[in-house]
């Protein structure tokens, strides 16, 4: 009783908030206001071009002539087109081989850099270089390296007497395919190595000491401690790497333009080739749209197969 009486005596005079203040206190209004800029940007620069691309894929639009809806005719045409299938094959092959190469070499580099080396930070900076350089610039460098006449590799091999003639890097289909994969691996290693190095550094050294006392050999420490602990970050980095490699354009287009005889076309370069220089906007868009299932598959794969492990934070214990 007495406390109630005391508290009424102390009640502060409340001021009515202004209409504007009350509006900003309204949660629904606030949500809309805060989302608007982000949604606007996404709609303008992501959803609209994507939607337009998908729509184009179902038309026969060419540059300079508005198209009409033709249903899946573009896809039917592509289904019969051996160049399209060759691009699909090379996209998958390029992604698979380059990813394996990048991760094998990147992991190896990351493990090296995680040791106590002299001038470690300088080494790390150097390793990042291929990634910092603009792709087109490194593509031009590779273009020279792979040049039929002026290739530095051919020159070195010939100077050393190991070869009589220059190496053929990009003038026959398979050597061109492998050369492009090598360039992509070179460019992709830093990203993988630095990301995995960050992952390695989160592993507590005392785990290795415990494993050492438990009798683990270096290989067993890698197999039972490093690798499983690296799995979560490996999964994320690999997803990104696969997506970026599959959608690669610059490297291939600047070095070979899809040649020789269309043997090194990726789906992205073929889509561009058909759509812009070729003028067949509808057909180019259809090729680009055909990439979507592959990307969705890659994302789902990493989502389910490489998803969070049970031992990680934030899952129920069942």
């Amino acid at each position: 009783m007495s406390t109630a009486a005391a508290s009424t005596a102390w009640t502060k005079v409340r001021q009515q908030p202004s209409a504007l203040a009350r509006l900003f206190d309204n949660k629904a209004f606030l949500i809309v206001v805060c989302l608007l800029p982000a949604v606007g940007l996404l709609m303008t620069f992501l959803t609209y071009p994507l939607g337009l691309g998908v729509w184009l894929a179902f038309t026969d639009q060419t540059i300079g002539r508005p198209g009409v809806w033709i249903g899946i005719e573009n896809f039917e045409f592509l289904f019969e087109d051996p160049i399209f299938w060759s691009a699909v094959f090379y996209s998958v092959f390029y992604t698979a081989v380059a990813t394996v190469g990048k991760f094998a070499l990147g992991l190896w580099l990351a493990l090296l850099l995680n040791q106590h080396l002299p001038m470690k930070s300088l080494l790390r900076a150097i390793i990042l270089l291929p990634w910092i350089v603009p792709t087109v610039l490194s593509a031009i460098a590779f273009w020279w390296i792979y040049d039929p006449q002026f290739s530095i590799i051919s020159w070195a091999l010939m100077e050393m007497g190991l070869r009589e003639t220059p190496v053929d890097f990009i003038n026959s289909p398979w050597s061109a395919r492998w050369s492009l994969i090598a360039a992509n691996i070179w460019r992709g290693i830093p990203f993988v190595a630095i990301s995995l190095l960050a992952g390695l550094q989160t592993i507590s050294p005392s785990l290795y000491e415990a494993a050492l006392l438990d009798g683990a050999s270096p290989w067993q420490r890698f197999r039972h401690i490093t690798f499983p602990m690296l799995m979560p970050i490996l999964a994320i980095v690999m997803t990104f790497s696969i997506i970026f490699t599959f959608t690669d354009f610059q490297l291939v287009y600047s070095i070979t333009r899809g040649g020789p005889v269309n043997s090194t076309h990726l789906m992205a370069t073929l889509a561009f080739q058909r759509g812009i220089p070729g003028g067949q906007l509808g057909e180019g868009a259809a090729i680009a749209v055909a990439m979507i299932p592959f990307l969705v598959f890659a994302t789902l794969f990493s989502y389910f197969a490489l998803a969070r492990r049970k031992w990680q934070q934030g899952e129920s214990n069942d």
Binding site: S206, L213, G215, A216, H224
Partner: protein
């Protein structure tokens, strides 16, 4: 089960000497506690015994075999880390069985050992959990389980209780002690907490700045500390160590107090030591001014001043005086510790 001998062990990190020649003899089945302030080199010594740090000088022998160049896994030791170092991606069962799995032990043996350790430690119901699903105390037990299943010759503990709350710490203290007595495995236990050392050890080794100050049974260290460092480190509340000199038929402390001396005292006393619990209230005592009175229920701790000399007392009696009032105290003369100018016991 084995003896452990550390002979003139030295350790440098780069050019910085950290351990300056340490000698410890540990008997078979003994529970030895290395205690000392933070940074004195306890962990370093333990890690040298484990083989996680190389030995810059001297010799370490386990069970009579010099192990200086023996790799950790062949030293037949098991270690419990301060942060437990449980493998986060393995269940409790897998954590405990890991060493056996590496040694390619048969499945039945692994399961049997894990079950046995789980029973001892009360982990039966938790075997399929991951470390993150365990409380601090449970993780601690898993770390011990991982050590037990290996039947090592020596257990090494590095501050295993410092991440637990006070109550759990007291409980785990007696659990570890009980476990050690049951398994009778030689144990080296590192802590900075002298109460842990006093309550658990057969033998305490007090370290300071890379040297051993004194080694012995807990009560021997309490009763006869070899120097002022051990005197101040062992015992809680800490011993009063009062600098001063002999004059006027007593010990004239800095700050002016004249403290009585036991009979037949040497003349070169530089520090007068008396434990708070060895000061007694007496009508014929010295007048002391109360500064702070802290009743704990079972006893009363009192910070006081005799003239300007600060002293701490711990009395069984309840003291109702307020700060500024005076009481009369005197030291129990049979329990006074006297130290020379070099800090050594006289």
């Amino acid at each position: 089960m084995a003896t452990v001998s550390v002979r003139d062990a030295r350790k440098n990190f780069g050019s910085t000497p950290i351990l300056h020649g340490v000698n410890v003899e540990i008997g078979d089945g003994e529970f030895v506690v290395l205690v000392g302030p933070s940074g004195c080199g306890k962990s370093t010594l333990l890690r040298m015994i484990a083989g996680l740090e190389n030995i810059s000088g001297g010799e370490i022998a386990i069970g009579g075999r010099v192990v200086n160049t023996v790799p950790p896994k062949d030293r037949d030791i098991a270690m419990v880390f301060q942060n437990y170092a449980l493998y986060p991606h393995m269940t409790v069962r897998e954590n405990m069985a890991f060493s056996m799995k590496l040694a390619k032990a048969p499945r039945e043996v692994m399961e049997e050992e894990v079950q046995r350790a789980a029973k001892i430690l009360g982990l039966d119901a938790l075997l399929d959990r991951y470390p993150r699903q365990l409380s601090g105390g449970q993780r601690q037990r898993v770390a011990m389980g991982r050590a037990i299943v290996r039947h090592p010759q020596v257990f090494l503990f590095d501050e295993p209780l410092s991440n637990l709350d006070a109550k759990l710490r007291v409980q785990m203290r007696s659990e570890i002690r009980e476990l050690q007595q049951r398994l009778a495995t030689t144990t080296i236990y590192v802590t900075h907490d002298q109460i842990e050392a006093m309550t658990m050890a057969d033998q305490i080794v007090v370290m300071n700045a890379g040297r051993i100050e004194q080694a012995g049974a807990p009560l021997a260290l309490y009763d006869r500390p070899a120097n002022t460092f051990v005197a101040g480190f062992i015992g809680s509340p800490a011993m009063n160590l009062v600098p001063g000199e002999i004059s006027d038929g007593g010990f004239r402390a800095q700050g002016g107090a004249l403290l009585p001396l036991p009979p037949a005292t040497p003349a070169n006393v530089a520090t007068y030591g008396i434990r708070p619990e060895h000061l007694v209230l007496a009508e014929d005592g010295i007048e002391a001014r109360l500064v702070v009175v802290e009743p704990t229920g079972s006893e009363t701790q009192v910070a006081m001043r005799i003239a300007e000399t600060p002293l701490v007392g711990a009395f069984r009696e309840r003291i109702t005086g307020r700060p500024g009032e005076t009481i009369r105290v005197k030291p129990d003369l049979s329990l006074v510790h006297l130290f020379g100018a070099d800090g050594r016991r006289l």
